[in-house]
């Protein structure tokens, strides 16, 4: 299922948080909703999920105005927290039932997910006995157990050890493969870069950058070529540029210039020739350095 927000506006008092935000998150893909602290990510998520209305604009599901009775959302909020004093299975079943599952289906799914996330042994324990990272895994179950169409994960990797992060990655990939639209909101750019097909960088209440991540990167290429090999020093002397060990960054000013550089590097026996692409981090910093 594709989720599209179109021209969202929202103000709190005199503060205008969203000033015409638009983006589309497609089913079977991961989408990165990025922005600095206070940019309006959580507000956007809450409007998408129908927690409160926007002042203007629409949320569309597969091109139609969204019907919250039909579109299921799974949500892992950045501010985690469940019922510390209640039994894990009991509260997970409760949340799954609130999302529309029957008691039996909820119990079955919760048990399956506890096993999937290697938490089966804690099923009957109170939540408060778990470590922070394990509590987060439990909370993830509230976002996926009811098999939602759209999964929104806000900083899903914070606080997870590398093994658990790997487990979560596998789970997210499975869900994407099952055709879910997965929306990431995170400041950990490496994860977003790894997963997200498209991104939207919020700044000043609008999408400063939005679209396919590869296309964005290509568009923001800085006309630089990176060459690795023994010829690095030689190339630096020929075309200008600074070599570091066996690497050199060369500037070009046109497509012809780039091809010429690549040919020269190939002739001299370079091991690796690549166009320098900005990282998501670079793109983010460039897009959000002015205003919030």
């Amino acid at each position: 299922m594709d989720i599209e927000v179109r021209d969202l506006h929202k103000s709190f008092g005199t503060k205008e948080v969203l000033k015409g935000l638009s983006f589309t998150a497609r089913g079977g893909e991961a989408f990165g909703l990025l922005g600095r602290n206070g940019a309006g990510k959580t507000t956007t998520i809450r409007i998408m999920m129908g927690v409160f209305p926007s002042d203007g604009g629409t949320v569309l599901a597969d091109g139609q105005p969204i019907d919250y009775r039909k579109v299921g959302f799974g949500y892992l909020p950045e501010e985690r927290g469940l019922y510390p004093k209640r039994e894990i299975t009991e509260q997970l079943v409760y949340f799954a039932r609130l999302k529309g599952l029957t008691r039996d289906a909820a119990a079955r799914e919760v048990a399956r997910w506890l096993d999937r996330l290697e938490m089966g042994e804690y099923a009957k324990k109170k939540l408060e006995v778990l470590s922070k990272g394990n509590q987060q895994k439990i909370q993830l179950i509230t976002a996926v157990a009811h098999d939602p169409d759209v999964i929104i994960l806000d900083e899903p990797f914070s606080g997870l050890d590398p093994v658990n992060a790997m487990l979560l990655k596998d789970v997210v990939r499975e869900e994407i493969d099952r055709g879910k639209a997965v929306i990431f909101s995170s400041h950990q750019m490496s994860y977003v870069e790894e997963f997200c097909h498209s991104v939207c960088i919020l700044n000043g209440g609008v999408a400063a950058v939005s679209g396919n991540l590869m296309e964005i990167k290509r568009a923001q290429r800085a006309s630089k070529l990176r060459v690795r090999g023994e010829c690095a020093g030689q190339l630096a002397d020929l075309f200008g540029g600074t070599a570091q060990e066996d690497c050199v960054i060369l500037n070009y000013d046109s497509e012809d210039g780039r091809l010429e550089l690549m040919k020269a590097a190939a002739r001299l026996g370079a091991d690796e020739i690549s166009v320098v692409e900005p990282t998501l981090n670079d793109i983010f910093v460039a897009a959000t350095s002015e205003g919030v």
Partner: protein
């Protein structure tokens, strides 16, 4: 609706699994059971309860007037009389509790260490001496002692027919019901407020607002707490009723206890109606207040204004009840306002005759009040739960209420 029942079940179990809840319920039921079964235990242990509390005292009497000692001995069966003691000395040393100095039939003094709230000794002595004085004077006028006796002991024949309610009988359970309503609202109202606030503090709210409809949430929570309260009351009063019936025979002589379990069915119905509606009006408001605070510590401060209103109502009703003047204008007005009517109208129905239309208007207004409070609470809740750090100003509350 499905969400509502899910929430109701989850929240209700929350109370039933609470160890403090179970403990207080069991202890209260047990205490009531033990008190009501006391006559049984007592008779098994051969203690005569009628003797309890009426311990014998010693009274000093200083008099030269003939006949006074005999008359006082008859009039004060609970005291043993001593005549050869200085009254002041006796009271100081604790040998006697009180004493009378009768100089003549026209003049006497009463000495006592502490005047108790219901000390009737003075009045009894006064009656005794007055009767002796009258008998004495009449016999001097030539009336025979038999005639004097007849005249003095004459009582006109009469009877009391009450077409309304008997306040003397209803007073106790009206008092208990008002008291019970007060306690249940204070305890459970705070519980609802803390319950909502703790979800906010633990941030479970972040997930809840995206999972459940605020109206289902608010009604589910409040009705669950109402059911928990009713369960507790049923356990306590049920145990009272059970144990009273088990030892009914032993309480036969005790009108106070008997009147407590002898509530007319109609009044019981009104009690249940006002109790339930009154509970919900307050529980919804407490829930709304709970959703406006960010931290659990702030709950008691935030609920203060609501609590003040409630305590004021309670005071008005209790003072009106114990002064006997239940039909005052204040009580009349209070018996129609939804926040005050549960206590005020019930007290009026129990203690006086209230026209049917007044009862009907009061109940209708109260039902309307409950529904209005429920929806207002849900609206405040929806906005309040996402407010962190900001103070719940009247302006913010108004905005929450009027927002679409």
């Amino acid at each position: 609706m499905k969400q509502f029942t899910t929430i109701l079940g989850f929240e209700f179990m929350n109370y039933l699994r609470n160890k403090a809840f179970i403990f207080t319920t069991v202890v209260m039921a047990a205490v009531i059971g033990i008190v009501l079964m006391f006559p049984r235990f007592a008779s098994a242990a051969e203690i005569d309860i009628s003797e309890l509390g009426g311990e014998e005292g010693v009274m000093a009497l200083e008099t030269d007037v003939p006949g006074v000692k005999e008359a006082f001995t008859a009039a004060f069966p609970d005291y043993s009389l001593v005549t050869d003691m200085d009254i002041g000395e006796g009271i100081r040393s604790g040998a006697v509790q009180c004493g009378f100095k009768v100089e003549s039939l026209e003049k006497f003094s009463y000495f006592v260490a502490d005047v108790e709230l219901y000390d009737s000794n003075y009045a009894i002595a006064s009656d005794v001496l007055r009767e002796m004085y009258r008998t004495d004077r009449l016999s001097r006028l030539g009336v025979s002692p038999e005639e004097v006796g007849q005249v003095m002991s004459f009582v006109p024949e009469g009877s009391v027919t009450s077409t309304g309610v008997d306040r003397t009988k209803n007073f106790l359970y009206t008092y208990i019901m008002v008291m019970a309503l007060y306690m249940v609202i204070v305890i459970y109202g705070q519980m609802v407020a803390s319950n909502v606030a703790s979800e906010k503090a633990s941030r479970a709210m972040e997930l809840l607002v995206t999972s459940a409809d605020p109206i289902a949430m608010m009604f589910g929570k409040v009705i669950a707490s109402g059911l928990a309260g009713l369960t507790q009351l049923l356990a306590v009063f049920g145990s009272g009723f059970l144990f009273y019936n088990l030892s009914r025979g032993d309480w036969a002589g005790n009108e106070l206890v008997a009147s407590l379990f002898d509530i007319p069915a109609e009044l019981l119905l009104y009690m249940v109606v006002f109790f339930i509606l009154g509970f919900f009006v307050y529980a919804f408001l407490f829930g709304a207040v709970g959703s406006m605070v960010s931290k659990l510590e702030d709950v008691s401060t935030a609920t203060m204004p609501l609590m003040m209103v409630f305590v004021a109502v309670y005071m008005i009703v209790i003072v009106s009840l114990s002064s006997g003047g239940i039909d005052n204008p204040l009580m009349f007005v209070c018996s129609f306002i939804p926040l005050t009517s549960p206590m005020a109208m019930f007290a009026r129905i129990a203690m006086t005759t209230v026209p049917l239309w007044e009862k009907a208007v009061s109940v209708v207004l109260l039902v309307g009040g409950v529904i209005a409070a429920g929806f207002a609470a849900a609206k405040i809740y929806r906005v309040g739960v996402l407010m962190y750090g900001t103070k719940p100003t009247p302006k913010a509350i108004w905005k929450a209420l009027t927002q679409k």
